[in-house]
Symmetry: none
Subunit: 407 residues, 2 copies
């Protein structure tokens, strides 16, 4: 029997409050340089420590052993969707990150400006890393000149530096398509093709991309250095079973950065806009407490400082988070899970595959008798090492949402 | 390659003694109320402690993360049968629990008396929770009046209160069928149908159930309050590969309660009847030592007291078990595993999904250097957190029953 099917069959109709707090990129490594302490271990966290007393801990594999996830797979896993089964194209992720709202069937591409020579050969894949303001101007120009290709609407939005996003909104489209990117200088832009040649919808999308190039390249012809563009990760927004259907919980997202709101929206979470600080996010949780059953609260700064390799700043970000935690606890949910979507070790200055620590507290979590919430302590916890996609199931179980299996 | 196929291929023909001791519902939670000790941690267990010195420990997921198993899936997992692959209907489990011996192809239903109004609407799904003695009288009456339907023999046995079991023993029958139970008051008894409409055998079984209702309801027509009955979990005894075939071990069960004997019988274990106390069960093991290779010894009271939320009684049950353990150890088997079929935390007063601790000792178990056998200690053990269905494979490996895989 299919396991998701079993979970669904056993799910009881009931009222419960579940809260998932994600400190992005929380997990880290203990290294000699930092006295063998991780930022979480070095930080002063009296409020997390108090929670640890009555909590279970463990570590979670974001996707599979050794696999470093981007934010997309990292969060889909946390939301209980197998990141290998539910793959979201980079174009879609990028669009979500820019705050665009996608519709079912939209095909999105991650694009960037490049430099082409007279023969159409790519001479600089990043067009000399143009300024964001230049990118914005060029995108505005393209938007004005190319509003439609075939029967599809074209939506263009500038990102940072040379990066932008193109969305094709039409009928009967799907991805994935091959990249319009030679992935090296010195070659022409390859023609885009449907990955599944038998898909009429993907063939149609590939044709639209070709038409887009035909219309857009002349617009840029006289620009320097950005007289061309590359497109990658071209795919449609996949059909993902909605969170409320799958878990019988009304979900809401309290995030600051567009990417995470977008990922939450992808599974049907309500986006609660406004809060900018973690304290404000927790305040918002308090005011919305009665309106939802499941809250996803996202804290970005642990990841950001990890990416910069800034140990002290990551440690301070954790301390700021800890200081705000009592606000959340004014309305203690039935189940509270605190974790990361992956590790972002300062020593590696980027996402990694190292299992992130997780703390879970509820009336039936029991106590692992750990005095703090740390990577090293989590290794000893009763939750063990498990795939992140099971976290939501553990949370549901802790909310007593599952009927017994078999007699 | 199929993993079960690999295990089977690597299994060597040899003599070894393996003992699985199940303290039903052993696993528990450390909570503030009990000074952060589980019953196993609070109990005085000198004999288990002595075993721990030369044992490996770990924790087992009974079925899947967050899933709370009934006794059926719990034990099938311990016997090495994936509880998701080998599902046993509630009717069959109930029949086994009442000590009935099922034959292959028997279709069993969990039934209970109910009250119907003049129009056949269910007004009380439990017939006012009649006494067991009334249930026994009504079952005797039904047994006398309805011995056969179609070409199938009907076997009826009373359970506790308003509960009973009906078995249809005929040719070419199978389940599962839909329930003859509206699952609420105020509705009529629904007609039973085959879950798989294309199964001729299930359609035949559904027809027999309808005929049974036709014959049985008039017998009860004048009885009050039990003038009707509902049937649920109607299914046949599934075909399960026998234990001896699968593991090349001659298995025997030393249990007191019918349910566990029934589950053991389902996989072809010999039932060694007679013993009532754990000391007697261990004595019986000593006398039968030469006759079997694998002994399943079941101790019920840990679960029973966990269900009652009686921490002290569960603790004492563990101490009684521990006191009897030296009897078993008079003939130390090659491999001894001590565990539960699931957790039954006192704080939850019922089965739960929390991984149960397991202790495994053999000449090649090594030592995890743990001084006791406890939930918290088991978190640190070398067996880690694993699915219960692999326990028998760990036991076989510890008996050196597996050849090397590959060169």
């Amino acid at each position: 029997m299919n396991l998701d099917g079993l979970y669904s069959e056993l799910t009881l109709e009931m009222k419960a409050k579940l809260v998932l707090v994600v400190l992005d990129g929380l997990g880290d490594l203990a290294t000699r340089e930092q006295g063998y302490l991780t930022p979480l271990e070095a930080a002063s966290t009296p409020n997390l420590d108090a929670l640890a007393q009555d909590a279970a801990q463990g570590r979670m594999i974001p996707v599979a052993p050794g696999i470093t996830p981007g934010s997309g797979p990292g969060h889909l896993g946390l939301f209980g969707y197998d990141p290998l089964e539910f793959q979201v194209g980079r174009g879609v992720i990028e669009a979500l990150g820019l705050g665009l709202t996608l519709k079912a069937g939209d095909v999105a591409a991650r694009a960037n400006f490049c430099t082409l020579d007279a023969k159409g050969i790519v001479t600089d894949r990043r067009a000399g890393r143009i300024e964001t303001s230049v990118c914005e101007e060029l995108c505005a120009l393209l938007s004005k000149k190319v509003k439609k290709v075939g029967d599809a609407e074209v939506i263009i939005k500038a990102g940072k530096g040379h990066r932008f996003v193109v969305i094709f909104r039409g009928k009967g489209l799907e991805g994935p398509l091959s990249d319009a990117d030679p992935h090296r200088d010195g070659a022409p832009i390859p023609k885009v093709e449907a990955v599944d040649k038998k898909s009429a919808k993907a063939n149609k999308a590939a044709k639209l991309v070709a038409e887009f190039y035909k219309a857009a390249l002349p617009v840029l012809a006289k620009k320097r250095p950005a007289n061309g563009f590359l497109m990658r990760g071209i795919a449609h927004q996949p059909a993902i079973p909605s969170f409320v259907e799958r878990y019988r919980l009304r979900p809401a997202c309290i995030a600051v950065y567009p990417m995470y709101k977008g990922l939450a929206q992808l599974v049907g979470m309500a986006k609660l806009e406004g809060p900018q600080t973690i304290a404000e996010q927790f305040e918002r949780y308090l005011t919305e407490y009665d309106n939802y059953d499941y809250f996803f609260i996202h804290y970005k700064y642990t990841d950001m400082h990890g990416e910069d390799g800034n140990f002290e700043a990551k440690k301070r970000a954790i301390e700021e988070f800890d200081a705000a935690l009592p606000i959340l606890l004014q309305k203690r949910p039935d189940v509270l899970a605190i974790t990361g979507d992956h590790s972002t070790p300062c020593a590696l200055r980027g996402h990694s595959w190292h299992p992130q620590p997780v703390l879970l507290t509820s009336e039936c979590s029991g106590s692992d008798k750990l005095e703090r919430f740390t990577e090293t302590g989590a290794n000893l916890g009763s939750l063990g090492l498990f795939e992140a996609k099971y976290l939501v199931r553990q949370m549901q179980a802790n909310a007593k949402m599952f009927d017994k299996f078999g007699a």
